[in-house]
Structure formats: C-alpha cells, structure tokens
Subunit: 152 residues, 2 copies
Amino acid sequence: MAAETSALRHRLRSTDLATEIEFLMARARALGTTHANEQLASLKLKARSYAVLALACSQSRPSQRELAEFLSLDASQIVALVDDLERRGYVVREADVSDRRSNVIVGTSEGMALCQRAVSAVTVAENKSLKALDEAERDQLRDLLARVAFEG
Amino acid sequence: MAAETSALRHRLRSTDLATEIEFLMARARALGTTHANEQLASLKLKARSYAVLALACSQSRPSQRELAEFLSLDASQIVALVDDLERRGYVVREADVSDRRSNVIVGTSEGMALCQRAVSAVTVAENKSLKALDEAERDQLRDLLARVAFEG
DNA sequence: TATTGTTATACTCTATAACTATA
DNA sequence: TATAGTTATAGAGTATAACAATA
C-alpha cells in the first residue's frame, strides 16, 4: 500500500464517510493489524494465532467452541489454528473430563514461553498504533471499545 | 456464529487478551460489519462498496488510486468495486483532464439517490453497534479513533 | 434431538506481479 | 524511469453443510 499524501488526506477527510465510526474502525484496525503482524512475524505468529495462543496460555481452559465464539471466528477456522499451534508444540488438546466431545486447549511450557515473547511483540505494535494517544486516552479508548465489543 | 453464553464471557473476559485494544477493535469491528452488511443487503451493497459509493458521491472527486489509499485497500480491489458500481449505473469513470492516466470516480444521480438510502441504513447499523454508548461517548470514541486512524 | 469437533468445499477478501498507457 | 489503471492469479480469510462421537 502506497504512502498517503497529505493533500489526499485533507481532501477526503472532510467527507461524511470519514466521520463514520465504522470507517474509522476499519482504518484503525488495518493499521493495528499491520503493526501486530509485523512484530509477530519473527515468532511465526499472526494476530489470529496469537489470540488463540494467548487464551490457551491463560488459566481459563477454553474449548474450541469457546475460542470460536470469543474470537468472532468460525469453529472450522479454529481447527486449523489449533492444528498449527499443536503441530509446533505450543498447545495441546486435552480431553474434557466433563464432556468427552469437547477439547480443552492448553498451552505447553514452550507455548507459555512463546506467548510471553508474543505479548512483548504485541505491546510494541500497540505502542506504534496508538502513538497519537497518551496513557489516559488509551485507557479511555480501551474502555469504550470494550463496551461496544461486549455489549453488542 | 453461535450466541455467546454469559459464563463464557465472564471467564474469558478476565484474560489479558481481553484488555488488548487490538483484540477489542477486532471484536467491535466484527459486530459493526455484521450490522452494516445486514442493513445494506437490501440495497445490494456491503461496507466496502458503500465506502466507494460514498466517496464517489462526495464533492471530493477521488481517483481510484486515492480510493485505494484512503480505504486501506489494494488498487486492484478498487477496480472490481468500481466495475460493479459502474455496471449498475451508480458511478462513472471520468477522464481526469490534468492526468490522462487517471480516472475520477463520480456518482451519477442514481448513485446519489442510492447513497442517501445507504447513509440511512448505515446510521441504523451504527446505532445498533453503539447502543451501549451515549451521544457524548460516541463522539469521544469517534475522536479517539480518528486520531489513531489518521496519525498512524 | 442437539452439540463438539472435524472435513470438505466454496466463496470472499487480499496481495503480487506483469502489462498498457501515460507522465 | 515512474505512476494509474487493469488483469490474472494465488493465497488468506470466512461461511456452509455434512459427518462421527457424544450428550
């Protein structure tokens, strides 16, 4: 994607579209994903696989179905993401004792180590994406987005 | 995508991932795009084609290259979007007198009419997506996102 | 009967490279 | 030599339906 000229920005920013939250979110997210994927590339992770790894390495013991719901992804996509992370030794599918249909996805110790590095990488990316905002504003944005994201 | 149980929300919301702005933005946007596409479906538009139409129907006379940059899309994707809208009679490619390589994309009167209806549809969708926020909070979110989106 | 994980499949989205016409 | 638009194509992302095992 080519760099944007300031003339272009000025001209198109004054359009109605440029004030729509949906549009602004699309743009902000394109930027954020680019930065995140750049920082995660050396760990052979992307935003998606990072999210799965992070939840697997939390103490929440999510099932694949839960991962799909929480990450707004289709269940069939989770299969491929977990397959990849499992093949690389970062997560395992554990049998759920209370429901034998269900797999619980858990991080291995290698997964935990990778996850720690990934969190650092994502922090770097987030700082790049949000460099226009100070700490208080970032908290404000986080709070507003959380309410939108979880109170649809 | 299945509905999310409150138990799941509670359990996974307490993870570190759930506090990352990148993740929250992905979730909020999945929601917003779903609502927008639902409302635009009867006009045979999607979030993407709506954005192109809206810019074409503004007074800014964007080139295809400018549309690509402003919408964070690849130039080759704009071709297909403009092709579709042009075939349906909503926009035309006008020759740019100052640079004959360049097309200026302009809305027709049918395009203007459709755009007006689309703006209403998108407003409905935005109200659904942002129902958790009051007017002042929406302005705040808009402002914060704009700064992130345009000051990467 | 309904649900979890899985597979297969198709459809959309996105990125890349090569081409043409202009600059 | 570089840029705007186009085309072709491949790869990534996403959705749907069907199946086996289990509830």
